[in-house]
Symmetry: C2
Subunit: 329 residues, 2 copies
DNA sequence: TTGTAAGCGTTATCAC
DNA sequence: GTGATAACGCTTACAA
């Protein structure tokens, strides 16, 4: 204790150890110092319960060892797991994560960026939808799943390739009448390519492919109406469906069940994401995103000192995994 | 721009606005200042793209408007949703969350606490398992789901009541041979009371109740063996199971399915948590934790200035929700 | 190798 | 109401 009620400072440690202030600082920065001095300092620090004040340190060094991660929410399993992996990747490097949730609001996204800047974070990783997010170029920014410009690195899965993979798989499994379904932000992003890859591949292989692309604002109703319109005599017009997310795949499956249409007996479905459900494994057959590598990549790039020579778009390979909604298990 | 490459400071704003440094500070702290001055300052700040440096501010004021949240991971839906709700509750109050993941490691938990202290957070909310976590009493700490001592507030659901509720419900639904299953940390915590409440209630109502309580280290194998040992001629010895989490409930259901035992036809199951799965609603019938209120409560307490008169344990009411694994829908 | 002193960007206390 | 000036706790030349 310092006598007054507040926390001990370096000055207190120095006094208690009987050394100069600078010496204490050196000890805590791993700068060579006489062994007996180091000893005394460490003991004094321990005795006083001293810890470096990162705020004072950051003020001097301009490095805070904090990175902000901006994401809509943690309700979607993919968002939660991505957040977890990025947080762990940061921790491994001695950085901390400031978590900022936006609930898809462009205004909130912007104010999160402001907050991050004000907190002098060393970098920002953002999964955002605001089409004209205003970024200070003084803080490194890495965008997840959305391409801004060549000067802002974007990290994503190989969404196009994943779509192709889904098409190939469904066709290989005997599907001939294919359908693509998605619901998501009306702001275009990398994930849109999932459907593009799927459709391109279907066409290339000579099979018809319909698609229904909705925006979040639309809600699920249109899906139900669409399916209802494509069921005749208890049979669905399609035998293979590719959904842009596993959650959507599960919702579609549940809706079809109400019509007595069973998966994978009557129609095979492939989703996208591949996050296992705790206690019950993969929710469906799916294109698996390489979450751990995506996280590592974001962190690597955002922390990279040398900001010239940054790639502007990095796509990581996905893979297919069977999960009970296709006839291959 | 300031001429040199770095960010503008208050000094720059003052110079550019032609006012004194202190005046600028006052403007940004909402301290009364002549209107024309305020105008000039705001304009200059805008022109320069100035933002208050929270690190410098924190150094002076000893308030960082940051709270650390320590949690094992975001894989368990309950953890993810709790994290989301706490983060939102903090954002609403103008605070940011520093997220620290521990993966259940006691050492990591301790180092997260150290990190938080070093970052001079205004408070710590912790979902931890380290039985002798060392806390500085200079930083407010709120424990989730685990009681430390009367001086450290603990927030939890009414786990005991939830267990009772599950028993009552199963009995009401006709179950007579009851079973309680749990897997979790070997460090005791509030969640242990789920089973206690269940067993107490079963006994009080005069129905037999078995239970199998495992630790994470044990893995799932013992559950499978237990169930196998209690299946005779394709029939399970129990007709009602209460699982300490929804994830476990789903795992048990899947295991029973392998034996041809169907839920809820042959046995009814109630889980605990009540986090809906994106795209498919509740995973099972369950005791729902009031996540939003739990989060609000944690944040309220951790930010409360007056630290005398804090309750040492707050239990929030749970409720039952049917989700397809009981015969009441 | 050790000690000294000048800031880092704010806030807060004073005279004016 | 406004404008110097001294901290806040630390890092980092630079001098000893």
């Amino acid at each position: 204790m310092t006598g007054n009620g507040s926390l001990p400072t370096m000055k207190d440690v120095a006094r208690s150890a009987g050394v100069a202030l600078g010496t204490v600082s050196k000890v805590f920065n791993n700068i060579p110092v006489g062994d007996s001095y180091r000893q005394r300092v460490l003991e004094a620090a321990d005795r006083l319960g001293y810890q470096v004040n990162n705020y004072a340190r950051g003020l001097k060094t301009n490095r805070t060892y904090a990175v902000a991660f901006i994401v809509p929410n943690l309700e979607l399993p993919f968002f939660a797991i991505l957040t977890q992996n990025i947080c762990q990747a940061l921790e491994r490097r001695g950085y901390r994560m400031i978590l900022a949730l936006t609930d898809f609001s462009p205004d909130t996204e912007q104010s999160c960026v402001r907050m991050a800047q004000q907190n002098k974070v060393d970098g920002i990783i953002g999964l955002t939808y605001n089409p004209n997010l205003h970024l200070k170029d003084s803080i490194p920014f890495v965008s997840f799943d959305r391409y801004f410009s060549s000067s802002i690195p974007c990290v994503a899965s190989d969404n196009f390739g994943g779509g192709q993979m889904a098409a190939e798989k469904l066709i290989e499994l005997g599907c001939r009448k294919l359908l693509f379904l998605r619901i998501g932000s009306s702001v275009s992003g990398e994930t849109d390519k999932r459907g593009d890859g799927f459709e391109v591949c279907c066409r290339a292989k000579g099979f018809p492919c319909d698609s229904l692309r909705l925006f979040n604002e639309d809600g699920y109703e249109p899906f139900k109406e669409f399916l209802a319109a494509h069921i005749h005599d208890g049979k669905l017009d399609y035998d293979g469906i590719f959904c842009a997310s596993d959650g959507l795949a599960m919702a579609i499956r549940a809706n079809l069940a109400e019509w007595g249409i069973l998966v994978p007996r009557d129609v095979q479905i492939i989703g996208f994401d591949g996050i296992p459900v705790w206690g019950s494994g993969l929710p469906c057959s799916t294109i698996v995103q390489p979450v751990a590598q995506l996280a590592e990549t974001c962190v690597d790039i955002v922390l990279k000192e040398d900001r010239t020579e940054q790639p502007s778009l990095i796509c990581l390979p996905v893979c297919y995994a069977s999960g009970g909604t296709t006839r291959d298990s």
